[in-house]
């Protein structure tokens, strides 16, 4: 079952993209876009340093991106209806969830293997130390990264079995869980810079970053008593100068606590896989329907009925009695379509979703403007993430493409209507801030607000059209929202939450480009424009 599932995945085009991402990570490390440094120090590019670098990169990034890549294994059996066949076999639920965990792990492990290959290439390309020490190179990847991948794989399966976490909300929640796991024991370790790493830190070290960095810091401290204990694994370098000093890193010292710590995460993965079995619905249509239903069962005959009873037959109606349609097209057909798209986007939510949305909208109007812009708006524009994430992907996910693409002027009407509806959602939830900026005469702030209101649905539409799934936007937008607007980070604050971080012209241009990308993607999928 693991083999079949793995083969099913690797024969898809999306797997090439997955491997491509791993290759990119390797390249980014080689080119210095991903930098591991200890203040002004870095290790010489020997096998131990490169193995550790690649292991940390793999653990830190693949545990985030990889989760979203593999969090579809049970859904795939559902969508293909293979699950209904599996449910009729003697297969136990535990067997199924453990097999899915193993299959997820196989995909993530294949990405780690790519990074191992990248580490070998990097050592020869950098040519600072040509001696290849296989143990020093591979041990961090296999003993640090793989347990992290196993736990990530198991989390993906567990999330798929739990009612709320299997939805887009789970994709959002995982980002914050990952952030917590990533940082984890760091504060307690960082406080004790001149002391050995406490054993508990090894057991709480999800990615192996703490274990590795701690030992590296101890090594540098042994060379340079002035070393203050800083270390980082960064993307893009943050504008800093490359490290000017070198040291020889001979690899991790594998003590019992470190080894047992990694084993704990591996065993933890198996435990999660077993826990997932308890929640797995075994493709029972009744349990699937109850999980999906947002209202009490309308079917006669009790909760076991998953579908409506057929309506009673009526006297035969005649097609000859159908009222002919007027020959002229509707005058405001685009506005009508925007309204229809908006209704489609907003329908089906729980009542409290609308209450919170309304509350955020009101808060944008009544809070002090600075806190509304720098705080409430941030919340107001993460709340509808699951509304935006369906843009562009809904037609493929619900198999309505044939109905829509065969309609006249579907591309020049329906796609813009979807985008406009997305902008309306942004304006409905956060429009109070825009209105107050206008009243105050802050045209720059208003421009940043409007750019954000356009950028978000543009990003959603482009990602939805090209990926055919809502997951890409949910993952990317959550991370971007957190790192950018939530932290007022200049350059990536697409909401313009503060004057210092606003770049309306950049994000307006980006919105335009993304709409063009979405249009191109939709055009490719349609037989004719």
């Amino acid at each position: 079952m693991v083999r079949a599932d793995f083969l099913e995945r690797v024969r898809r085009y999306s797997f090439l993209l997955t491997i491509g991402f791993a290759v990119y990570l390797g390249y980014a490390a080689y080119a210095g876009h991903i930098m591991l440094r200890l203040d002004e120090y870095r290790g010489i590019y020997n096998s131990a340093w490169l193995g550790s670098l690649m292991a940390l990169v793999a653990s830190a990034f693949l545990s985030l991106v990889g989760f979203y890549i593999v969090k579809n294994s049970i859904q795939r059996d559902q969508d293909t209806r293979v699950g209904r066949i599996l449910a009729t076999t003697p297969m136990t639920k535990a067997f199924y969830t453990l097999a899915k965990t193993a299959s997820n792990f196989a995909v993530l492990a294949s990405m780690v293997l790519v990074m191992a290959a990248a580490a070998v290439c990097m050592q020869f390309l950098r040519a600072e130390d040509s001696h290849l020490d296989w143990w020093a190179l591979l041990a961090p990847l296999f003993l640090l990264s793989l347990p992290c991948m196993a736990f990530t794989a198991a989390l993906a399966v567990l999330f798929e079995t739990l009612p709320i976490l299997r939805t887009g909300m789970g994709n959002v929640i995982y980002f914050f869980l990952w952030s917590f796991l990533l940082i984890g024991p760091a504060p307690s370790v960082m406080e004790k810079r001149n002391q050995p790493i406490p054993a508990i830190a090894y057991f709480a070290d999800f990615t192996g970053v703490i274990s590795t960095m701690g030992q590296m810091q101890a090594t540098v401290r042994g060379i340079d008593s002035e070393y203050k204990g800083g270390s980082s694994l960064s993307i893009g370098g943050g504008g800093e100068q490359p490290p000017s000093k070198r040291f020889v890193w001979r690899g991790l010292t594998w003590n019992m606590a470190l080894f047992l710590g990694r084993l704990t995460w591996t065993v933890g993965a198996m435990v999660l896989g077993l826990i997932a079995a308890a929640f797995f619905h075994r493709f029972d249509p009744a349990r699937e329907w109850r999980a999906r239903a947002s209202s009490p069962s309308p079917a006669a005959g009790g909760a076991a009925d998953a579908v409506l009873a057929e309506p009673p037959p009526k006297a035969e109606q005649s097609a000859a009695h159908l009222t002919p349609l007027p020959q002229t097209r509707a005058r405001n057909s685009l506005l009508g379509l925007v309204g229809a798209e908006l209704r489609l986007m907003l329908k089906g939510k729980r009542w409290w979703w609308y209450v919170v949305a309304a509350g955020l909208s009101v808060a944008c109007l009544v809070s002090p403007l600075e806190s509304a812009r720098g705080g409430v708006l941030i919340a107001a524009w993460i709340w509808p993430i699951l509304v935006w994430s369906s843009m562009g992907a809904r037609e493929r996910r619900n198999e309505t493409e044939a109905l829509i693409f065969s309609s006249a002027r579907a591309l020049p009407r329906q796609l813009p209507a979807v985008w406009m509806a997305g902008v309306v959602v942004a304006l409905l939830t956060g429009g109070g801030v825009g209105l107050r900026l206008l009243v105050r005469g802050d045209m720059v702030g208003l421009a940043a607000f409007l750019a954000g209101a356009c950028f978000i649905p543009s990003l959603a539409l482009a990602l939805g059209v090209w990926s055919g799934s809502s997951k890409a936007f949910e993952a990317i937008y959550t991370a971007w929202w957190y790192v950018g607007p939530a932290h007022h980070t200049p350059g990536i604050d697409f909401m313009g939450v503060s004057a210092a971080s606003s770049q309306p012209e950049v994000f307006a241009a980006a919105a335009l480009a993304l709409v063009a990308v979405a249009y191109w993607g939709r055009r490719v999928r349609m037989g004719y424009a």
Partner: protein, 314 residues
């Protein structure tokens, strides 16, 4: 007795008497990637009436329907709608098109009315006129009682009826229905056939199916497709005439049935007290077989078998 060539020759009647509606399919071929050709040099002229497109699974019916519905482009050839090239001006056809795909989905959170209103908006229809038409269509397909229930709770047959309703939303002049009776119970199947017959007077209807009885009840012309090629195109009567004198009823012991299937083309078997009554198709009947009037299924199977034999010989 006619030969295979006479039976399956291109008896193209050309729907030249069909008024202003004309759909021309000119040597259309379709290849997916670098794989096999799903459709090869398919040509047909259509006017008002119901064309039954018959063929086995994998024959290319859905590929052809997708091309005509402008979902996918032909690799070669041309489709014109009332003289206008569809590749150059697809919206001219789309404006007049009603399409029921073989596989389609719905939006589970919408109810029937909302879903049809949404599709009416996508098709650019007037909202007020659409509402009245939607009410009528839901009555027509017997879903008026469940109009306000979410589509996510509908059975397969109910979803199929929603599909039929949406195909009729814009009062199409070209109605393409691909395997429309899938999931319908026998009563609904009869209702649908009656509906198609009522609709056929002023429009072109293309009914694509592998179920002969669906075509038998409604089609005024039949096209047979096999392995991506047009095998036959004629009226039901002409097809039946071509196979007249080639259909036999043969009573044999059930133990001999398997061996008989190896030697003869058998279209149907019925078990009775005196043995198995098998309908045998061919020029040379088994000993003791009696001639019987042919039906459309006999004609379909006979033409297909002749086409395959000719393909093998070639």
């Amino acid at each position: 007795m006619g030969t295979f060539t006479e039976c399956c020759a291109f008896c193209i009647h050309g729907w030249l008497a069909g008024g202003t509606l004309r759909l021309s399919i000119e040597r259309v071929s379709k290849q997916y990637g670098r794989g096999p050709w799903a459709l090869r040099e398919f040509s047909l002229e259509l006017g008002t009436g119901v064309l039954g497109l018959l063929g086995p699974n994998g024959a290319g019916k859905t590929t052809l329907m997708s091309i005509l519905a402008t979902i996918t482009r032909a690799t070669e050839g041309r489709v014109t709608w009332n003289g206008s090239d569809v590749a150059a001006n697809p919206d001219a056809l789309r404006s007049a098109l009603g399409y029921l795909p073989q596989d389609f989905g719905v939006y589970p959170n919408l109810n029937a009315v909302e879903f049809l209103e949404y599709l009416a908006a996508v098709k650019g229809l007037d909202a007020v006129a659409s509402r009245k038409r939607i009410d009528e269509l839901l009555n027509l397909v017997n879903l008026a009682d469940v109009r306000k229930r979410p589509l996510g709770g509908y059975s397969g047959g109910m979803k199929q009826r929603i599909g039929i309703a949406q195909a009729l939303l814009n009062d199409p002049k070209l109605l393409i229905v691909d395997e429309p009776t899938a999931g319908l119970d026998p009563e609904e199947r009869v209702r649908f056939r009656n509906l198609l017959s009522e609709l056929s007077g002023e429009r072109i209807v293309i009914l694509s199916t592998h179920i002969v009885s669906d075509v038998e009840a409604t089609a005024t012309e039949i096209a047979m497709i096999s392995q991506g090629r047009l095998v036959a195109h004629a009226s039901p009567e002409e097809l039946l005439r071509k196979v007249e004198g080639r259909v036999w009823e043969w009573v044999l012991p059930s133990a001999e049935l398997n061996a008989a299937r190896q030697r003869y083309l058998i279209s149907n078997t019925t078990r009775r007290s005196d043995g198995v009554h098998a309908r045998v198709l061919g020029e040379n009947p088994p000993s003791g077989a009696q001639p019987v009037p042919p039906n459309l299924e006999d004609a379909y199977l006979y033409c297909l078998s002749q086409h395959r034999a000719a393909a093998v010989a070639a």
